[in-house]
Symmetry: C2
Subunit: 445 residues, 2 copies
Amino acid sequence: MSNDRKIYKPGPIRGFPEWLPEERLVEQKWFDHIRNVFESYGFCSIETPSVEEIDVLTAKGEVDKEIYVIERLHKDDSDKSEARLALHFDQTVPFARYVAMRFNDLVFPFKRYQIQRVWRGERPQAGRFREFYQCDIDVIGVDALPMHFDAEMPAVMWEILTGLPGMENEKIQMQISNRKVLLGLLAHLGIKDAVKYTTFIDKMEKIGIDAVKAGLKLNLRLDELSEDIADKILHLASIKTSDAVTLRAEIAKLGINDESFNIGVEELAFVLESLKGLPKDAIVADLSIVRGLDYYTGTVYETRFLDDPTYGSICSGGRYDDLASGYINKHLPGVGISIGFSRLFAKMIEKGTLNTTQKSPADLMMIMPSEDRRGEILALCQGLRKRGIKVEMYHAARKIPDQLKYAAKKGIPYVWFPDEDGHKIKNMLTQEQGPADPATWERPQ
Amino acid sequence: MSNDRKIYKPGPIRGFPEWLPEERLVEQKWFDHIRNVFESYGFCSIETPSVEEIDVLTAKGEVDKEIYVIERLHKDDSDKSEARLALHFDQTVPFARYVAMRFNDLVFPFKRYQIQRVWRGERPQAGRFREFYQCDIDVIGVDALPMHFDAEMPAVMWEILTGLPGMENEKIQMQISNRKVLLGLLAHLGIKDAVKYTTFIDKMEKIGIDAVKAGLKLNLRLDELSEDIADKILHLASIKTSDAVTLRAEIAKLGINDESFNIGVEELAFVLESLKGLPKDAIVADLSIVRGLDYYTGTVYETRFLDDPTYGSICSGGRYDDLASGYINKHLPGVGISIGFSRLFAKMIEKGTLNTTQKSPADLMMIMPSEDRRGEILALCQGLRKRGIKVEMYHAARKIPDQLKYAAKKGIPYVWFPDEDGHKIKNMLTQEQGPADPATWERPQ
């Protein structure tokens, strides 16, 4: 019947990931795990619309090239009276707008998580997503925010990253620093406007100490970079420890006494102390970490694959001074951290370590023995579902081998035979078969 | 410090719903429940990108006015080489494109659910959402699709709608019909092009039998509408029963023998038979239901509040002949049903029957007694979390009444006191307090 139809075959849209059912099933397990951990620390969920007013999105800087504007295909005069809208490119700007708008309805410190899609209007290029999920947590205080939360952020994310199904064998490490320390040192050494020169210090591992020394000379605009200053910066930037005592001892060698510097050291030491319960080397203070954004004013976080350090950070964030300045006349310090979900998930899909054998969420498929038993079989399935078991009832009284083939193709792990001489269940992986009781059967873990 | 800042206060964007944390918490419970039921019947999840090529979205009809196109704020030449993109306005078109594109990777009958946002570029007007969630299920076969699934659709949705937290006292009813019956009757009576005149028949309840009779006369373009024809149509359209035997008996009174008509009756009777396990009056065959879309070719579904019948259907769908004609040279019949989630959720929020007392997902708040016990308290929280309990640790060693006040404001149901003479737990609702063991405590259901 369909041979004379005109066929238009749409292909995938570059930069907009889409998964097969068996991949999506793992993606859901990842989201469930992330949500579970977030909530187990008392973070509440919020969602914001996909769009914001363009003026809100562009208020804070030069991101306008990456913004997707939305417009009705056939605009008319009624559109002119409205603000122009665009898809959000991160979850921080919408969150700031949300907190400002709903300030009186929220309880502070406000702990929220947000798992949504964001959009970047990038030119299409390999490996860049234009639509992707981010998983963010932030805690916002009014006027002040205890350091407790700076320590909670990496604890939450460590638990998440090491618990994602299929990530068990990945060696990851979180690096923590505090911008007050490096910036305090530079200010103390008389180097002004240091912020813009600091980002290359965290390339030390990549380019080597001599290159950093040369860079320091050039970038910090010292006519002559004294050996003393260079050594101090390099000493600081090479400190890597997860032990607060070692941290303090190494930093004491610099002999610096600067108020902001000292506060930074104490904040960082507090975070390390609070994370002592985690495995050794899970989280290290790494004083070369600065993060690109001026936005951050204290603690900063990055996370790397230890065997693929150039891949870039998979989970980053930090402490900032004021979330929603510009929208509300309140001082709202915060700390936050974010997983670039889709990029990480796509990497693991590509690597092939995720278990994508199931194309269906069903625990078992119910054999349909004959049409005249339909009512009985429907009731049997319903009873199992009431006990939390996911049951796909086969859709017609076909030959048993056909029914089994369907279950095998979908990767459904068990098949139930409602035989008249007694119920049986078959493990599709081991092919073992045994008796089963609808009132008590549970899927083995 | 902030008094001299320029403040821009963004307001809500009309048509784009956004919820407070305590409302979002209930919304999540709704989504969890819906997902659980979908999966308990073996439906697998898919998600598609938020956008499709404009040509894909507009291929099937006159919806272009409702489409939101996306464009990079600052376009350049590289954009011209790409297809124009727009936000999807439903989940059916993207699903059809998905099935066509991934046909060889899917197992048929393919049972999928999809819970995503969709966008309608409507003019702003009261009560109309421009961004909202839809929850869809569809089953797709190749060349044929068993009637089993036509019966499964309303069973799934009945379980969902009656199990949504806060909907317990709503009186809802699903109406089922089969378009082959009414259309078969009209064709049999010699009325051509009947489809376009049928939609007003389902207004019978609203406008009365005489008005429908007059309408039939006018719309069916009969010079003289014979009493016999009118009576037959009205008899059919007034049949309302959940019993297959009654259905067959009432329809037999018409004395019609038409192949398509008879098939329609048998299909409808099969669906009713399969749903016998549901409460009386949960689901009724209502032969006046036709649905607006020509798309549907057999079973059709609608769902109404019995005490607010003019509110419109909250859950609708039906059987269609071919999902993805135009994208693939295969014949893919299907059946689907959809909940307009956001509209229903917003209605219940407005009605005030949802329990929005909790602003946090935490089961309990852990009292922080003193800074020198921080390590011990962190470990205590961690132990409880490992057992699946959601614990917000208070963030500083403040006075106990301040800590309790915070828990009360967030609606956290329990507070844990790690007193040195033994752990205690307080029920914040009843104010009862008693001993608690970190190794065994469970939140009462």
